[in-house]
Each structure stands twice: as C-alpha cells, then as structure tokens.
C-alpha cells in the first residue's frame, strides 16, 4: 500500500520524503485547491523543483487542483493543470468534470485522480468518471464503512485511495456548504473551509470562545481540549441541551484497520493535513511508515503499537481519535 503524505510547503517536502512517504500531494498557491491558506502551497517553479526531487528519490508527486472553476475564469484552472503537467508531476487530483476533460485532452500522459471533493461513493459514479475522463484512481469520501468499501473495491475500475489519518471531514466532501453558510467562504470555490482570517479566539473567565464569521462555534472550558473551529465540530444547543450535535472535535486514525484495508486491495493510504506544519507532516508520516512496515513484515500478526496512537493523539484535534465512518456504529 502506498503511503501518501501531505506537503504544505516546499520546506516540508524533504523531511516528509525522508520520513518514508511513498508519494506526497501538494497544491498551487491560489484558489485552485481546497487548502488555500496564507503561507501555504507551491509556485509553479517550486513545483518543478519538487517534481525533480521526487523523481530522484523515485517517489510520486500529486497536485490537488480540486476546487471548481468559476464561470469565466476557467483559464486560471487550466493554467494550473498545464503548470502541474509541465512540471512533470505523477498525477493531478481533480473533481470538476470540465477540468478532468481538459486534462485528459491536453495532457493525456499525466494521470488523473478523482478528488475526494467529487464525493464519488459508489461504483456507477467511479465507472462514469473512468469512462469519461480516464481517471486511474479515486479518493473515496469519508462516508463509507468497510463493508461498502469492500463492495466497491471488488469491482472498481480504478485504484482506490482512502483517508487513513488526519482531520475528519464529517460531511461528504465537496457537498458541504457549512463553512460557506456561516462565513461566506467555501472549499469548493473559495478554496478553504473555515478560513483563518474569519476565525476568532477569545479568552473569557469561563473558557475560550471560538467563533467563525462571528458565530459562536464552541466555548471550551479551561483545560478542555478543543480543535480548529469548523461548523461540523461545533457545540450547539439542540433540544434544550448543549452538545456536539454533529461531531465532537476529533481526528481520524485507521491504524487498527490497516490489515482490512490491505485485504480489500486499497491502493493508497492518504494522510490529511496539508495545512499543518512541516513537523506535523514529518511526524504523522513517520508513524504511518512504521505501521505499514510492520504490517508488511507481520501480516496477520500485525497489531498497532500503542505508542503510535498516543503520538497521533497528540497531533490530533481535541486529542481524540476515531475510526470514523469506516466502522458503521459511528454513522
């Protein structure tokens, strides 16, 4: 199984490769990718150097161009695809049908991966994208349990990539306007969920108030772990009770599911977190490298090392880990 790690900035690339990533994914410095944060991402020139480095080390480099081109501005997205393909990356990750068609027509030699932002959670969808645009891989949305993934994997026309670790999108990716509703900015067209410029933290006697676009998303008591404020992980009043109505702050860890993922024929395990620090990318990659190596050596005897979960928990949101939708009880 390929270990696919997040790389937010050029400074993060080498440490992440040295930590054992088989492949890394990055974004360009504009709104063509769903992690448009200040100080993050690559210029086309930096992308060229990154592609060279990955080639030397025989690793793969993928570029996420996974927002939806706005009418009249398609050229900007087309130029992004051109830049990625000319830099010699291994694959471009896209969700928009028009952009997939553009890449297939103008850069047929560069592999096309279906982004999780397309939320393709079933075989007919995968077949459709495969037949129409020649995608070679799809990133499955975090809405499927292992049984459903098994059914898809058994007949999938393309390689499957799943999220293994990192922040947990609770909603079908690409079909979530929660950030847009509350802050006016969406991952689909604006390039970011909960943009940092609209997040406010305020210390008060009864705890820390966390706001997005002015709306109170949580009030975290002193000493209580919290996460980065997203609407889906806020604490609200429902039915007269304050509660995390959709999800508590937590991160995904599928370390216990590694053997099952392998058995289903999952091709790549993706670690989320391009927006996090270089140290984060390096640490999370190191942990997962150890896990995959141990699984490769031990096979069915594989048991996750308790220290891995401990280290992941320290990197997680709300210091809590979950296997999320992969086990249906979560749903």
């Amino acid at each position: 199984m390929e270990l696919l790690a997040p790389v937010g900035t050029p400074a993060s690339l080498l440490p992440t490769l040295e930590a054992g990533a088989d492949a890394v994914y990055v974004g360009l410095k504009d709104d063509t990718n769903a992690r448009r944060f200040a100080g993050l991402n690559f210029t086309p020139a930096q992308l060229g150097s990154a592609a060279d480095l990955c080639r030397q080390r025989q690793r793969k480099l993928y570029v996420a161009i996974n927002t939806y081109p706005q009418p009249g501005q398609e050229q900007r997205w087309h130029r992004a695809v051109d830049a990625a393909c000319e830099a010699g990356v291994s694959a471009v990750i896209m969700a928009d049908p028009g952009l997939l068609a553009y890449a297939a027509k103008h850069h047929p030699e560069t592999e096309r991966h279906l982004s999780v932002q397309a939320s393709a959670a079933n075989l007919p969808s995968l077949r459709l994208y495969h037949e129409a645009f020649g995608i070679t891989r799809a990133v499955l949305p975090r809405v499927l349990d292992m049984t459903q993934i098994e059914a898809i994997a058994a007949e999938s026309p393309v390689e499957l990539e799943v999220f293994a670790s990192g922040s947990l999108c609770v909603m079908a990716e690409g079909r979530c306007q929660l950030s847009s509703w509350v802050s006016g900015h969406s991952p689909n067209s604006g390039g970011a969920c909960s943009p940092a410029s609209l997040v406010q933290w305020q210390e008060r006697p009864d705890g820390r108030e966390v706001r997005l676009g002015g709306a109170l998303l949580d009030r975290v008591a002193p000493g209580e772990p919290g996460g980065y404020p997203t609407v889906c992980k806020g604490r609200y009043r429902v039915d007269g009770k304050a509660q995390h109505a959709i999800s508590r702050p937590c991160s995904l860890s599928t370390l216990p599911l590694l053997p099952q993922m392998a058995r289903l024929g999952i091709h790549a395990l993706k670690l989320e977190g391009r927006q996090r620090s270089p140290a984060y990318s390096q640490q999370i990659t190191t942990i997962w490298r150890e896990a995959i190596d141990r699984f490769n050596q031990q096979g069915d005897q594989y048991r996750p090392d308790p220290s891995w979960q401990r280290r992941l928990r320290a990197l997680s949101e709300g210091q809590a880990l979950t296997t999320g939708p992969y086990l249906s009880g979560w749903q």
Binding site: D31, P124, S189, A245, G329
Partner: protein, 294 residues
Amino acid sequence: MRLSLAPNWWPMDRQAQQSWLAQAQASPAERIVLGETVCRLRDRMAPRTLLEHAQALKAAGKEVVLASLNMVASEADLALVRGVCRQNEFPLEAHDMAGVALAHQHGLPFIAGAGLNIYNLDGIRWLLSLGMVGYQPPMEMAADTLATLMAQCQAAQLRDRFSLEILGYGRPVLAVSARCSSARVAGRNRQRCNKVCQQQGALPVETLEQQPLLTLNGVQVHGHRPQDLLGELALLRALGVEWLRVDPGPQGAQPWLKDLQRALAQQEDAFTPPEPGIRHFWQRPEGDFALHGD
C-alpha cells in the same frame, strides 16, 4: 417562470406524506418533485407506489419529477436509485453522480440537482451529453456567477437544451454526511435509529448564545432559515429561470403559494412570503481575502 414544489423530503411519517401529497396536488405548483432524497431507512413509498402517485399527479395536470437519494453509498442506496430509473415516464432528479450514471444507462432524461456541483459550462456540456434536461446550480452560486454561466451557455448555443431551476424559497441543504445527526442527538446511531427523525422532526440548532444557525434533517444539515429569492422575481426572470422551486417545509404546500403563483402569472417583480428568509449565497461576500502571490 413556473412554480415547482419539492418537499426536500423532511422527515414525515406515512400519514404526513399522504397529507403532503394531497396538498401538493391541490397546490398551484405546475411541477411536483416526488421521492425520498435523504435516507433509505425512512418510511418511504415503494417504487411502485411512488409511480402510482406520480401518475395520479400527472393525470391531475402536474409535471412530475422523481428524485433520488442525495448521497448514494451502499448497495441498498443504489437499489433505490435503480428502482426510480427503471421507468421511462418521469425524468430523474439526480443529486449524486450515481443517479446520472444510472439514468444515462437507462436512457432516462435527468435533471442535474444542486448537489452534483456543476459549476461551469464544461460541466453542463458533459451532462448534456449524458441526457441532462434540467439544471440546478450549486446552492452557493451567487447571482452574478449564474448570470455569467447562463450567458456562456447562450453563446455556446446550449441554453435551449435544458431548463434552469432555482431554489426560490426553502431551507437550503448545506451538507450531507454518513452520520445521522438526528439519531445522534437522540443518543442513537444510524444503524439503530428507530426512525427517530420521524418522531422528533427536523431539529433547530442554535449557538450557545441562542443564535439560530442550522437545522438537522437526518444525515443532512440545512440552513436555519429559508433561502428566499422571491423578492428578486424580476432578476430571476432576467436570468432565464424556468422553474422556481419552493420547499415549504414539512407542513406541506402553504396557502400563500396561490399568491406567489398569481405574482408569477402577472410578471410581478417581487413577492414577500409570510415568513421572509435570507439571501445568504445569492450575493457574493464583500472583501474576498487576497492570498494570491503570497
């Protein structure tokens, strides 16, 4: 511009569904959208019953569209969408690419739902090649963006190949998950939900400061207030909107729909519903932060 009525399929027991159907039939809406869109576990009509109701509405002079699930993940979900595609009388409203794929396979015309994320001309061109006859822009698309897109379609001579439908009034679908929040707040999960959503209804969500924010509807999350574009009928007409969609909520068709129908028939520029909503996505937010070149 004609009126279309969609329930968004709020949680309803069978009795409430029957009463909704009767109201829909008596309403002035010319198009009725039928079919479960949120969760296959809810009480819903079997495909044959659905078809019978659709035929009855058609006989009563309505145009009927059959909707499919907003997110298709399991084999059981797929079977439900297949069931709706296995007829050739009514077009499918596809909210998931599975609907597009299956409709295309069966040669069934389809309407591209807002959840398909078709943001641009190339996307529209692709879906037209697969049998699209109607288009709903993504919920977050602003008026000026839609105007640009429709002008592009016109220039490409594609505009007369599909009808444009827009949510004129109703609490917008903001997100869909594998997790059922209605079950969660009742201390259950989706596997053992006991159809709790049908007992408790859609639940309002407020911030800890009592600011209304969202509405929980099973695996879907909606806005706390309706999107309301009824004050902009003139603009909608100028944009070429053919179908003005109204989701009156679980209580069914409302008496004011007759007044709205009259306003449409008389080409009025604006209409004010009894409970006015908001235009959250319709105008682009001010002060887009500039991150380019940093």
